[in-house]
């Protein structure tokens, strides 16, 4: 039997912003314990996230650099699961209306250059299963 090897990459990139993505706490290492936390990042009852403008701009820059299509409407979704390090019981993510979609990246291997298409995340990914 012949297999065709297909490799997908999921890339996580840390953004070099001054503050955290959904609150005004400083994003730097080496502070006193519990000095870079607030009700928002602790997920305390009643606290609400507000998107960091710099994150939006850096994200947009990445979409354009990869020749993707920026979305006119962007929306955030919740990925719900229980885990002790997940204060709100969900991650804030993007499913069907992310910052941008598509685009490609060229990779050179030997004397060949291949254009790899970037795929938008599958809609509904990570949604809870009815019958696990």
């Amino acid at each position: 039997m012949n297999y065709l090897v297909t490799i997908g990459l999921e890339t996580h990139v840390q953004l070099k912003t001054r503050t955290k993505i959904f609150c005004g706490c400083k994003l730097e290492f080496g502070g006193q314990p519990n000095s870079h936390v607030c009700p928002v990042c602790l997920g305390l009852p009643g606290a609400l996230p507000v998107l960091n403008r710099e994150v939006f701009l850096l994200g947009l820059r990445a979409v354009l650099a990869l020749q993707g299509t920026p979305s006119t409407v962007i929306k955030f979704d919740r990925k719900n699961y229980f885990y002790p390090d997940l204060p709100k019981g969900y991650q804030i993510s993007q499913y069907d209306s992310p910052l941008g979609v598509g685009g490609s990246i060229e990779i050179r291997s030997g004397d060949k250059t291949k254009k790899n298409t970037l795929n938008p995340p599958a809609s509904g990914r990570g949604r809870r299963k009815a019958h696990p």
Binding site: P49, L51, N80
Partner: protein, 485 residues
């Protein structure tokens, strides 16, 4: 007359004339709470009436609300105070921060006075699902005060509070205001910051005032409304001077009424008060009454019970016993910790809604339930948009009945849900609505208030205040209901 019976506006006039002080008011309120809420009658409007510690900023600007005590529902954060949402699962949690509305009140010199009882996590229409036990209706202690902001409405009606804050997700300010004979305003979604309000259904929740009259409601909303950079869903729009809307002529205004009636469920006395007497009052004031139709309103309760529990199931995920509040001390594993904490910490109605919501969000059911409900929600919104092209406001009963008896609907959740049939649409459409007293049902040996609701265009609370104030000044039910005996 005890100072606790005054309105906020009246007290501010007394302060201005130096006829009483903040200390006098707090003393009278303390006496009222002790006499009415703590002992014999046990209205139980406050969660812990014996340990109320009034809170204020040391230095604050002089304003109409300077020195005015405001009661706060137990789902709104006050720095340094326990906040439980009337649930066992949050017991012991002290909020390290103030909700924006609380901070705004403190900034103008108001005094935060006591925490009012509610249905657990605002899940209910009767104030009976509180872990602390039910609140009773001051007009008839055998009856419920409505919910979920039952404690806030009962405290205002019982004169154990001057005014109060509540929250409204499907009628939780307006229905208890109607049952207790006070004024309840649910502002437009986005008018008031939700920062510091423990989320039930994030796309429906709004904080609003519960007061003795329309003037106090306008006064309070003017202070708590406005853009908040901490809440992305709060609208960056100027806040009009609501007090300036009062006392204006309503001649020539157009008010819509529903052509089709909810015939089975509507109490005949409520119908007579709202459909006949109230309409006649408005006609005499020069208002044109026009029939409108909201064809999708009949689906509102069904849509709500998909959308609201879905959002709640996600919002309540954070209560897991890991970081704060109640935790099962015997749990031997992480899974046990979650299951036992949530199993013991949540009451029956909270569990019912979490299960309902989790089901409607599950893959395979999401499109059929949640997505479909969201589409019908848009239809409901469009119905209102269309109606508001023809009328300035819409009127309808707040609740199909007067306050029901304790225990009457606890065994039948569906019947309980249907008591919000007139209030839910405003939340789904995001529009403002105010409930004011419009009649009295004296057939049960007590004076049970009947409530009327005005619904308005988005961010047009001013028109609602104009109408409600004119109606109030020409009917005076807020005074006829008078002091509770």
């Amino acid at each position: 007359m005890s100072l606790s019976e005054k309105t906020a506006f009246e007290l501010s006039e007394l302060y201005r004339k130096k006829e009483c002080t903040q200390e006098d008011v707090l003393k009278d309120l303390g006496i009222a709470v002790k006499a009415k809420d703590r002992d014999a009658r046990r209205i139980h409007a406050y969660i812990q009436p014996e340990s109320i510690r009034p809170r204020e900023l040391k230095k604050s600007a002089a304003s109409r609300l300077s020195g005015i005590p405001i009661a706060v529902k137990d789902n709104i954060c006050v720095e340094g105070e326990e906040i439980t949402c009337a649930s066992k699962i949050l017991k012991g949690f002290i909020s390290p921060y103030n909700a924006t509305v609380v901070q705004k009140l403190l900034n103008v010199g108001a005094v935060i006075f006591g925490r009012t009882n509610m249905d657990e996590f605002a899940f209910g229409s009767s104030c009976e699902t509180s872990v602390y036990g039910p609140t009773r209706n001051p007009r008839d202690p055998e009856r419920v005060p409505g919910g979920s902001s039952g404690g806030s409405a009962a405290s205002v009606a019982d004169h154990t509070a001057i005014a109060a804050l509540g929250s409204d997700t499907g009628g939780s300010i307006r229905q208890p205001a109607s049952f207790c004979g006070v004024v309840g305003m649910k502002p437009t979604y986005g008018r008031v910051s939700r920062y510091g309000l423990v989320a039930f259904a994030s796309s429906l929740d709004q904080i609003g005032p519960i007061t003795k009259d329309v003037r106090d409601s306008a006064l309070l909303l003017g202070v708590i409304a406005g853009h908040d950079p901490k809440d992305s869903t709060s609208a960056d729009l100027p806040v009009p001077d609501y007090l300036a809307c009062l006392g204006q002529s309503i001649k020539g205004m157009k008010v819509g009424i529903l052509a089709d009636d909810n015939k089975e469920g509507l109490n005949p006395l409520v119908r007579a008060s709202v459909k006949e007497e109230a309409q006649n009052t408005l006609r005499k004031l020069g208002v044109e009454i026009k029939e409108i139709s909201l064809p999708h309103m009949k689906y509102a309760v069904s849509v709500y019970y998909i959308v609201a529990p879905s959002e709640a199931s996600s919002n309540l995920a954070r209560f897991d016993g890991v970081r704060y509040g109640f935790r099962d001390p015997k749990a031997a594993s992480v899974l046990d910790l979650y299951e036992n904490t949530r199993g013991e910490g949540f009451g029956a109605e909270a569990k019912r809604r979490i299960i309902l919501g989790t089901y409607s969000l599950s893959s395979g059911y999401y499109d059929a339930y949640y997505l479909k409900a969201m589409k019908v929600r848009t239809k409901i919104k469009q119905d209102f948009d269309k109606a508001f092209k023809e009328v300035d406001a819409i009127m309808m009963p707040t609740s199909p009945s007067v306050a029901f008896k304790l225990g009457e609907k606890t065994q039948n959740p569906l019947e309980m849900y249907l008591s919000d049939i007139y209030t839910i649409s405003a939340n789904l459409a995001g529009i403002p609505a105010i409930s004011i007293p419009c009649g009295i049902d004296g057939t049960h040996g007590k004076s049970l208030p009947i409530g009327l609701q005005f619904l308005g265009k988005p961010f047009d609370e001013g028109t609602l205040y104009k109408l409600a104030h004119a109606f109030e000044q020409n009917t005076d039910f807020h005074r006829k209901l008078g002091n509770v005996k």
